[in-house]
């Protein structure tokens, strides 16, 4: 167990010193800061009653100004933190040295764990900072991403009674938490988003055993998966009952209808199982006995 801990610690140190990890962290930090500064700037000098609540300017909320740009980068930056590290170790010919020190199986599993942690932390920390920053700056004015608390359409937005499309999954997920505290609701979504990013990161890492030659091509699989499901969603628009297949809409804050929880759980289950199989297979393949 202690060898595992030591290996994970060593891989964590390696990851934190990598330019790729720092680049992804910087992109996320820049995004949350630009969003924050933009909303501070446009609301500068406004009366306190008209300034938006901190939960409304949360950068994972799909109506924020630069969200559309950011969500397009996510499929690529999720791969960068540590998923390519196996290829880098091979390029640098330090793979045998690392495997001799900690054992082949421990090397692969610990790298998988660090990949998950890297993917999780690189998104969680900057966005958590953004929540704190927004909370310190903006007043609780009672506005939410579904409108004003006293708006006549506010309830309809929560339960989804304003949706005309034929679908079984109406309204937002976790409505009770949303009504109780929008900040906690955002924290929960941030946790889910970071968790999903961690899993995508591990998935990309497991594919690095197949795509060994060019690191840049490793950026393709997660992007293709997300785009394929977006295309599927386009085809299934007229299906009854409608199910939303846009994966990233499930893990960000929005009022999209048709979000079937079973679909998203199955999606990440399949992704994780595939990654686990590939990692176990690779760790066995490198063993002599």
């Amino acid at each position: 167990m202690s060898i595992y801990r030591n290996t994970i610690r060593m891989q964590m140190k390696l990851m934190c010193n990598k330019k790729a990890f720092q680049l992804t962290f910087s992109i996320n930090l820049a995004y949350v800061l630009v969003t924050y500064l933009y909303y501070v700037w446009i609301q500068l000098g406004n009366d306190i009653s008209t300034i938006t609540s901190p939960s409304v300017v949360f950068p994972l909320q799909s109506a924020t100004e630069f969200f559309d740009i950011y969500i397009n980068i996510v499929p690529f930056i999720v791969v960068i933190p540590f998923s390519m590290s196996y290829i880098t170790d091979k390029f640098n010919t330090i793979l045998p040295a690392l495997q001799t020190r900690c054992g082949s199986q421990k090397y692969y599993f610990s790298k998988g764990i660090v990949c998950f942690l890297g993917g999780f932390l690189v998104f969680f920390i900057p966005f958590m900072l953004s929540i704190l920053l927004n909370h310190l700056t903006f007043p609780q004015s009672g506005t939410t991403f579904l409108g004003d608390l006293y708006d006549t359409n506010f309830d309809a937005g929560i339960v989804g009674s304003n949706v005309l499309k034929s679908t079984r999954w109406l309204g937002i997920h976790f409505p009770k938490l949303f009504v109780y505290n929008q900040e906690l609701y955002n924290v929960l979504y941030l946790f889910l988003f970071s968790l999903a990013m961690g899993l995508f990161s591990v998935f990309a890492y497991s594919l690095s055993f197949i795509i060994k030659k060019h690191k840049i091509i490793l950026l393709l699989p997660v992007y293709l998966i997300i785009i394929s499901f977006n295309t599927l969603d386009q085809f299934m628009q007229s299906n009854v009952p409608y199910i939303c297949y846009k994966v990233l809409l499930y893990i960000t804050v929005n009022d999209m209808y048709g979000k079937n929880p079973f679909f998203i759980v199955m999606f990440f289950l399949v992704l994780t199982t595939t990654a686990a199989i590939l990692i176990v297979k690779q760790s066995w393949a490198d063993q002599i006995d």
Binding site: D68, I71, I73, F91, K215, I216, Y223
Partner: protein, 256 residues
């Protein structure tokens, strides 16, 4: 030399197009929409108008170009970091070598985009109830030229930038620039000072990929000439960078 892996990379576009445009095959009844309009709608994610779209749709429409960027993003750079010493002690002129490799990349890009445009066009012909007319052929040719030049230029930029910062960072930089340019194109009317001068809009490379996005300046000729100027400048710049480059180039792929 044509390698098997590069041919496979080029052919990957066929299943992608058939999956992405399979709504044309699966939909039972055809449409009475003119083929040219149907083709444009399917090329650019259903909305060829700049002011009625958003950045997510624009990037969704450029997916095939992005896939090409990723597949051939290290086509020239790969040779540089793997075999630069062997190449440049035999090759007298580095610029000549770079131009030669650029033309090879151009050829792959041409084949990739022919497959992309032709398969999309064929699916539209099958789905439409209308006959192929001269307008449709003109639209297909113009779209092909613009997409081809754009995908070649962006891939060449990725290869060149990779020499300095590595392939992954190079792709991310290029992609983020594309996103910002798309954002500026879609929100052009909100930009102070330059919003009333259409010429500035036509300087944005993203607006020149799609017909009508640069407010019809030059009707296809201007965008093509503009891309040729950009490609020429990039090739000259690339040749200069290569001439000054240390022959024992450090492999940036090892660092990140």
């Amino acid at each position: 030399m044509v390698s098997k892996s590069n041919v496979l990379k080029t052919l990957i576009i066929i299943p992608i197009v058939f999956f992405r445009k399979s709504n044309l095959l699966l939909a039972g009844n055809g449409t009475d929409m003119p083929i040219a309009e149907l083709f444009l709608q399917n090329m650019f994610s259903g909305n060829p108008s700049r002011t009625e779209t958003n950045i997510v749709i624009v990037m969704f429409g450029l997916m095939e170009v992005i896939v090409f960027n990723l597949l051939f993003g290290t086509y020239i750079y790969h040779d540089l970091y793997e075999n630069s010493i062997y190449i440049f002690i035999r090759q007298k002129s580095r610029i000549k070598w770079f131009i030669n490799r650029s033309f090879q990349l151009f050829a792959y890009s041409a084949v990739y985009n022919i497959l992309f445009i032709l398969s999309t066009f064929l699916l539209c012909v099958v789905y439409s109830n209308q006959e192929i007319d001269i307008v449709a052929i003109r639209v297909v040719i113009i779209t092909y030229i613009l997409i081809q030049l754009f995908s070649f230029w962006t891939t060449l930029m990725i290869n060149l930038l990779a020499i300095r910062i590595g392939a992954t960072a190079s792709f991310i930089t290029n992609y983020m620039t594309l996103l910002v340019l798309s954002f500026l194109a879609v929100n052009y009317e909100a930009i102070p000072i330059i919003k009333n001068i259409p010429f500035f809009l036509s300087l944005n490379p993203v607006t020149n990929v799609t017909i009508n996005w640069n407010d019809g300046i030059g009707k296809g000729l201007y965008p093509a000439v503009y891309f040729l100027i950009l490609i020429g400048t990039t090739m000259l710049l690339g040749g200069k960078i290569l001439s000054k480059m240390d022959i024992s180039l450090e492999n940036k792929e090892k660092n990140n």
